[in-house]
């Protein structure tokens, strides 16, 4: 029997299926596995970033620094690899470390100074974006052989289809995050804090450590998304991924996670990203529509999902009485 708490995720999956079916029905050439794989290829970095965001939102917070952190990662990677000639084997771990430290610093500020996550990460967003321009105001193109070969590698699948290395990374992140969320104490503590931070504290859970780790994880995911984005764009630029944190938040919400915290699934977020991808694909198949229609449809969907969540939680509280 289907449990009630899986309802939001089921709705997300159904919606995805419905959209894909509608696209297939309307456009020739839409219905193919490769279109589906392209969704993954084009949105791999968003999947990675949104997974980190899921943990933050489940814990009852928000992380606005994601897009800027991605830009900063592309920028640091590009300048070190391209202009300083550092080997990627050093650069990639380094940027991941920087992202994690950046996240844990924000987490520590949020927890110890009791600052609203919105404000603390807003500051982080400006800081990271600004740092990009300290490095350079121009695009730095990467032609390092490692980066170009990763970008061009096609992992062939049966039937002539292919995916990229980034897709593998994104899928590993999703699987790892599901494990983290449901089978580790860190994951369960995150849900507990999102449910009631006060209770978590009184239950003797390590609230400080968990909260800081949540933002550390989000920082790590942002940096990893930045690495994937670097493979995708093969350049570093201060204007990369502007507003991407909002796409990530949208994906998390469409995936059924409650913005108030305490409830949500990583897998839902994955489908949330896919839905955004399908909308984009449909609009590009349509040909005549401006790509901004993607935003309009996502906006409408968000409204629907938020109202739906509200109704669901309202029903829940009626049940309790």
């Amino acid at each position: 029997m289907l449990k009630k708490q899986y309802l939001p995720i089921v709705i997300t999956v159904c919606l995805l299926g419905l959209m894909f079916a509608a696209g297939s029905f309307r456009y020739t050439g839409f219905f193919s596995l490769q279109v589906l794989f392209n969704l993954l290829i084009d949105n791999a970095f968003l999947v990675v970033a949104a997974v980190g965001m899921t943990f933050v939102i489940v814990s009852g917070g928000i992380d606005l620094s994601v897009g800027s952190m991605i830009a900063l990662t592309t920028m640091i990677s590009a300048t070190l690899v391209q202009q300083q000639g550092w080997p990627p084997a050093v650069v990639i771990p380094l940027v991941l470390l920087i992202g994690s430290l950046f996240g844990s610093a924000m987490g520590a500020i949020i927890h110890y100074f009791k600052i609203q996550p919105f404000i603390a990460t807003l500051a982080g967003m400006f800081l990271a974006r600004g740092l990009c321009y300290v490095i350079s105001i121009n695009t730095i193109t990467i032609d390092n052989s490692f980066y170009t070969s990763v970008a061009q590698t096609k992992i062939m699948l049966p039937g002539g289809h292919f995916i990229s290395i980034s897709v593998i990374i994104a899928l590993l992140v999703v699987i790892g995050a599901i494990y983290l969320a449901h089978y580790t104490r860190f994951g369960r503590n995150t849900y507990a804090i999102g449910g009631s931070e006060q209770s978590a504290l009184l239950m003797g859970l390590p609230v400080a450590r968990t909260k800081i780790l949540v933002y550390t994880f989000s920082g790590f995911c942002s940096a990893l998304a930045g690495v994937v984005f670097t493979f995708y764009m093969l350049s570093g630029y201060g204007l990369h991924a502007v507003g991407l944190e909002l796409d990530a938040i949208a994906a998390v919400v469409i995936g059924g996670t409650l913005l108030t915290g305490g409830f949500g699934y990583v897998l839902g977020t994955f489908f949330g990203v896919m839905i955004q991808g399908v909308i984009q694909t449909i609009i590009s198949f349509e040909g005549t529509l401006s790509s901004w229609w993607t935003k309009i449809v996502i906006g409408l969907l968000l409204f629907l999902f938020i109202v739906f969540q509200r109704l669901l939680s309202a029903r829940r509280s009626v049940h309790k009485i």
């Binding site: 494990y179 580790t184 369960r188 503590n189 449910g195 009184l202 239950m203 003797g204 829940r316 309790k320």
Partner: protein, 504 residues
């Protein structure tokens, strides 16, 4: 009781001071294994502080805490739990979004190589609840799908699992119905037999005598005494708690016959007023200077009735007339304009603004009724605040005190002052004495009577039948969202009203 074992917990010479307040002065406390020990005292007596000291929320200024004969320092809730002291609070401090078994085990989940073993955890939770608490529920469901009573039992299960030696139950019965209280007491008795030491805090005297072996009384942050429950009479207990003779309480005029009053002016009259799903159509007439009590069980529709009169909910049918004129009261704003005031039962969420001072809280409603552009001068505000602080005896008598630092009874008085200031014709009091101590209760009851003597009509809602009987001229009895009977004068006896509530 196995007293020969010696106490498991000894607190001696405990001092705790907050800025400007001595919360605990030289308090001692002993708890033996296998006993239920009631901690009694009025609001502000220091019960909560003592418990927070025990659970590591507050650090003590001086004194000693011994657990199992060893001096312990309790620095945080976590340390308290590890030492074997667990607390279950009135508002269950668990995570509503997590499953029952997680709430029991979180932080100590059974794991293999860091991986949580869900099956084992669910099985252990189920066994724990069934074996020790006789609770048969689906442990995989989220906590919020169960009632507060069950949630409390789950919180107790969590404490037991952390191998608690001392279990503190802080006002556990406040939001439970009779059967749930019975179930809780059954569990407490079982745990007591297993040798657990239970510290029980409550406002209900009946429950103290039903379950406790010994009683410790605090007053004004000082230790008054430790007594065997069987050797302390109720009257002695209450007089020790409030520090005055019990007679004072009983001196309230009992039933005041309506005959003694002129019932010419009708303040408010409801004719077949009702709202689907909330309350069936009812008739109710409230005269000038009359106290109308609403009696009935929790959930019988008392609050719903009051909310209709105040316009907090809209009626679907019937007529409400105020001062003889039919009024469509569609919002609290309109009700206030017609001279109706409403003190909600949830003073924390619907009444008091904790971050504001006593003065600011008092002038709030008056300011609202004047409109926000006609400000009340600071001088005027101070005068008003002083006047009401004196008139209804708010303690401490400092208008600039933050309301969150006041005791429950005094917060209630601040809300009362706020509404009295608007000079209402009809004052609706929903559970004005809930969760406040005996002394403050008596003061609020007196206040209600003196207001009605001055011509104010009062609708008085309370779960305590005695209290309703004491202050009311007329009682409307509710059962299952129906006004089943309106009783006056000689009908007003506890037995009559009980029968009406019970029905049949």
């Amino acid at each position: 009781m196995k007293k020969e074992q010696g106490p498991i917990l000894t607190m001696s010479g405990i001092h705790k001071r907050f800025p400007g307040v001595k919360a605990l002065t030289d308090v001692s406390f002993r708890l033996f294994p296998g006993e239920v020990h009631a901690l009694m005292g009025e609001n502000g007596a220091g019960k909560s502080t003592l418990i927070k000291v025990l659970t590591g929320v507050y650090a003590i200024d001086s004194g000693e805490i011994e657990l199992s004969g060893k001096t312990v320092h309790i620095g945080s809730p976590q340390e308290a739990q590890l030492a074997g002291i667990s607390t279950v609070y009135q508002e269950v401090n668990l995570c509503p979004n997590l499953s029952v078994s997680e709430n029991i085990f979180i932080g100590r989940e059974p794991r293999r190589l860091g991986k949580i073993r869900w099956k084992q955890m669910h099985a252990e939770a189920k066994k724990l609840l069934e074996d020790r608490l006789q609770l048969h529920i689906d442990v995989t469901k989220p906590l919020h799908s169960y009632s507060v009573a069950v949630q409390q039992l789950i919180a107790i299960a969590r404490s037991l699992n952390i191998s608690a030696k001392v279990l503190i139950l802080d006002e556990p019965t406040s939001s439970l119905d009779r059967n749930e209280v019975k179930q809780l007491f059954q569990v407490m008795n079982n745990l007591k037999a297993e040798g657990l030491a239970i510290l029980f805090v409550t406002h209900f005297l009946d429950q103290v005598y039903e379950i406790s072996d010994r009683i410790t009384i605090l007053r004004g942050g000082e230790f008054i005494g430790e007594y065997a429950a069987s050797e302390l009479s109720r009257i002695e207990l209450v007089s020790k708690m409030i520090g005055k003779a019990f007679v004072e309480l009983d001196q309230l005029p009992k039933v005041r016959g309506t005959a003694s009053k002129e019932l010419s002016d009708v303040t408010a009259e409801a004719v077949q007023l009702g709202r689907k799903g909330a309350i069936e159509p009812f008739d109710l007439r409230i005269h000038k200077g009359e106290v109308v009590g609403l009696a009935g069980l929790l959930g019988s529709g008392r609050t719903e009735l009051a909310r209709l009169l105040f316009g907090a909910d809209r009626s679907d049918e019937g007529i409400l007339s105020v001062h003889g004129a039919t009024k469509a009261i569609g919002s609290p704003r309109q009700a206030i304009d017609h001279g109706i005031a409403f003190c909600s039962e949830n003073r924390k969420t619907e009444g008091i603004i904790e971050e504001l001072t006593v003065r600011e809280n008092i002038v709030l409603a008056l300011q609202a009724s004047r409109g926000w552009f006609k400000t009340i001068s600071r001088k005027k505000q101070d005068e008003i605040a002083d006047e009401y602080i004196k008139a209804i005896n708010i303690n401490p008598p400092n208008p600039e005190h933050l309301v969150k630092n006041l005791s429950g009874g005094n917060q209630q008085k601040v809300i009362l002052a706020r509404w009295l200031l608007t000079e209402p014709k009809l004052l609706i009091l929903d559970e004005p004495t809930r969760g406040i101590d005996v002394g403050a209760k008596a003061e609020i009851q007196k206040l209600v009577l003196s207001l009605s003597d001055k011509g104010m009509s009062v609708l008085f809602i309370s779960s305590e039948l005695e209290e309703v009987l004491r202050v009311s001229d007329k009682i409307a009895v509710l059962r299952d969202r129906n006004v089943v009977k309106v009783m006056t004068d000689d009908e007003l006896s506890q037995q009559q009203v009980m029968q009406a509530i019970a029905g049949g």
